[in-house]
Symmetry: C2
Subunit: 463 residues, 2 copies
């Protein structure tokens, strides 16, 4: 297959990157896909080892107006990492060093390609952790976490990626290396470009270094499992849990369908109920006891069917088994799955779940909801058989209605997956025209020629 790249650019990148420049078909195919199962082959794959190479390759691509798509390990479920035709994909696996861990200042300085899980293991040796804990932690990169503002169960207490980044070095669409933020946890110096770059999905800059805010690793955890008669009772408990001063370290929700699936398909030891909350306290050996008591008190209320406390780590594992059994169970019963991550204000969780059940009935689909209740961030999973064309079409038709429902409840499209191409065309429902226009102007400020990950996040401007 002839390269889609201008020959002069291909030569320049080969000279710049040596062994780190790939144009073989297998590599182009592999770097053209992500977990969204979309994508077209890359036109070239760059594997830089140093930030100077990133600067040079952006300059070269800009000269030829060739798109540049940053990539971590391709775990994006929204298509944020897939190239369009003719793009150079920049893989960061050779920029994966932990440059510094500074326990006294509670910061780490890393390159974007380091895996979240590898970082956590390195930090644990110092009694520290970095809060973002996506399910893909063992395979996803910190750069990818930064790009899509990844979260996870711990976000309810410790914040998502954006809340745990202090500074960034990034290469903009003009090939400029900018250094924003600081090494300090408080900063009122100039424009906050750091948090703007986080969640911009590679459309504003290629992150080449991050200064991360760390948290002390709790020495003790304790889990509670609460079953409720219905979602309203569980949501009221979530509001009570979030209003008292002991922050839960995790606060996870499962709807009644998920509970049944976890038992019937996943084999979890759990009775039927209208809704389930998994609640975790963390701290040290002494404080965790009292924290658990405070959380148990808040979990109690009208509609509580059962409240089980895990006295030790093994019992805690058993309680969390139901939550863990869920994803494999979903995979078993349906080969097709649209996994969304909508967010609503906590008080609207019952309306979201009721609305989702109505959508399931209307479209004759299995739709389940579970996730990060303390943030109102629910994974609504639309299940379907990809070999059943009619059911697949119904699943696709239900999606816009899910987003419309979420927005009508004062919520937003994504809590932790980002927008990519999957949700791009719903952005005009989430934001009014002047706000979208300003986002486009900001994009232009960072990337005047539109070469960075084009077609992601922002919908095409109306003609």
């Amino acid at each position: 297959m002839p390269s889609l790249l201008p020959p002069a650019l291909a030569h320049a990148l080969a000279a710049l990157l040596g062994d780190g420049w790939r144009v073989d078909a297998e590599t182009l195919r592999r770097y053209g896909e992500d977990a969204s199962r979309r994508g077209v082959p890359a036109a070239g794959v760059a594997l830089p080892e140093r930030r100077e190479q990133v600067v040079a390759l952006v300059h070269a691509c800009r000269t030829h107006r060739v798109p540049v798509v940053a990539r971590g390990s391709g775990t994006s479920s929204t298509g944020a990492a897939i190239p369009g035709g003719g793009a150079v994909v920049v893989g960061f696996e050779r920029m994966a060093r932990i440059l510094a861990i500074d326990p006294a200042d509670r910061i780490a300085v890393v390159e974007p390609g380091v895996l979240n899980g590898d970082l956590q293991r390195a930090l644990a040796a110092h009694g520290l952790f970095w809060p973002p804990d996506p399910a893909s932690a063992d395979t996803c990169t910190v750069g990818g976490n930064l790009a899509c503002n990844a979260g996870g169960p711990r976000t309810v207490k410790y914040g998502a990626t954006r809340d745990n980044v202090l500074g960034l070095a990034a290469v903009t669409g003009t090939g400029d290396l900018v250094t924003c933020g600081s090494r300090t946890t408080k900063d009122a110096t100039g424009y906050d470009l750091t948090h703007l770059l986080v969640g911009s999905e590679g459309t504003l800059g290629l992150i080449v270094e991050a200064t991360l805010k760390l948290a002390p690793l709790p020495s003790a955890r304790r889990s509670l499992r609460a079953l409720y008669a219905d979602v309203a009772a569980a949501a009221a408990a979530v509001a009570r849990l979030m209003r008292q001063p002991v922050a839960p370290a995790m606060l996870e929700f499962m709807d009644r369908h998920c509970i049944r699936l976890a038992r019937e398909v996943g084999g979890a030891d759990i009775p039927d109920a209208g809704a389930l909350l998994m609640i975790e306290a963390d701290g040290d050996a002494a404080t965790v006891e009292l924290a658990t008591r405070a959380l148990a008190d808040a979990a109690r209320g009208p509609g509580l069917l059962a409240l089980d406390a895990a006295p030790d780590a093994a019992a805690s594992e058993a309680l969390w088994a139901a939550r863990r059994a869920l994803s494999p169970a979903l995979r078993t019963i349906a080969a097709g799955k649209i996994n969304e991550d909508v967010v609503v204000p906590v008080s609207r969780i019952p309306d979201l779940v009721t609305g989702v059940e109505a959508l399931a009935a209307e479209f004759d689909l299995r739709i389940v909801a579970f996730g990060h209740a303390g943030n109102g961030n629910l994974h609504v999973n639309i299940l379907f058989d990809p070999d059943d064309a009619a059911e697949s079409a119904r699943a696709r038709s239900a999606l816009p209605r899910l987003f419309a429902l979420t927005l009508s409840l004062g919520g937003t499209l994504s809590g932790e997956h980002g927008i990519g191409t999957a949700k791009r065309d719903f952005m005009a429902q989430a934001f009014d025209a002047p706000t979208l226009a300003l986002m486009r102007t900001v994009k232009q400020a960072f990337d005047p020629d539109g070469i960075l990950n084009p077609g992601k996040v922002l919908p095409p401007a109306a003609a």
Copy 2:
């Protein structure tokens, strides 16, 4: 005095704002000053009651290329709220409503003119608070807090203003009303314009509404006072305190000069020491006991001279009296005070304090340091007699050296006061040229004609 404004603009604004348009000399003078004690009279003062008026007035000012300067209550110490010549100042005291307090979702929706202290009182009735707690809370506005990313002692546990804002409505320099962020605590939807607007000091937009993230009001607090032989011992204790899982609710530092001033001038009951830490635990009645114990354990270490725990609220008040005595004491001994808010990584606090003492010796000045140790955010106060021209000049000369010292320690210019005009010309030392240039481009994206608070935050571009 004839108005400096184009007559057509003055007429349009008078028609738009009615009684909310002021051009009398006393009002122009008053709205031309802030706590920086700089300023020139405003050319006109607009007191809008509705966001539509803000939109219209920006449009009108843009037409005439007249600067627009947003103003809360003028407590800025950096000159961020002072107009240049010929500017319209927009005072937000008529847009001071608390539009919603939603305890279940832990959010409040407010107009920018509401006083921080008024908001806190309204929230306390619901068992909630908004974390930013600047010393000026009773007189400063939420809009001003947003504009300069205000902090305070509680930032160490609860974050500064930027960390506690979920969404904003703002009018940009084009007169567009944009609505960014969400009502949810997790958001990975599009570009984060919300946190970019926070701390932009009115140079990117005029905030007309904010959705604030609230925290549960702790029902119990407990204080500790730790005295150390020297700053290094205190800083090591700060690092220990920040590395264990119980976050201190406050963690304040005083250097040896402050300790002596608090006693000798402020009358506080406190012995001499090399450094002092005030440590607060919060929680409920049960958890606060254990939290206090964990913090006391962490406070203990080499160089600890005394550790006093306050058994009750009255004793706690007595311990904090020393900290509170400090500001009046400083005012008593020196009429002139340059109060900076530099930030360094926690581990560099000893180097900062040592460096400050060296500056004091070199410039023959009294310089003291105190503040928010958990964030490395120290108020370095350069004291001088304004009637002593030579001493005043030395104070001004010491300032650039303080900033150079801070930056050399990996710190940054401002932790909670912002940049304004006071620190604007040091921005080129804090950021490299491409990063400053990108900030300018971002400014242009929000405010293409440069009418919003011109001359603040960013230094003039090099010719």
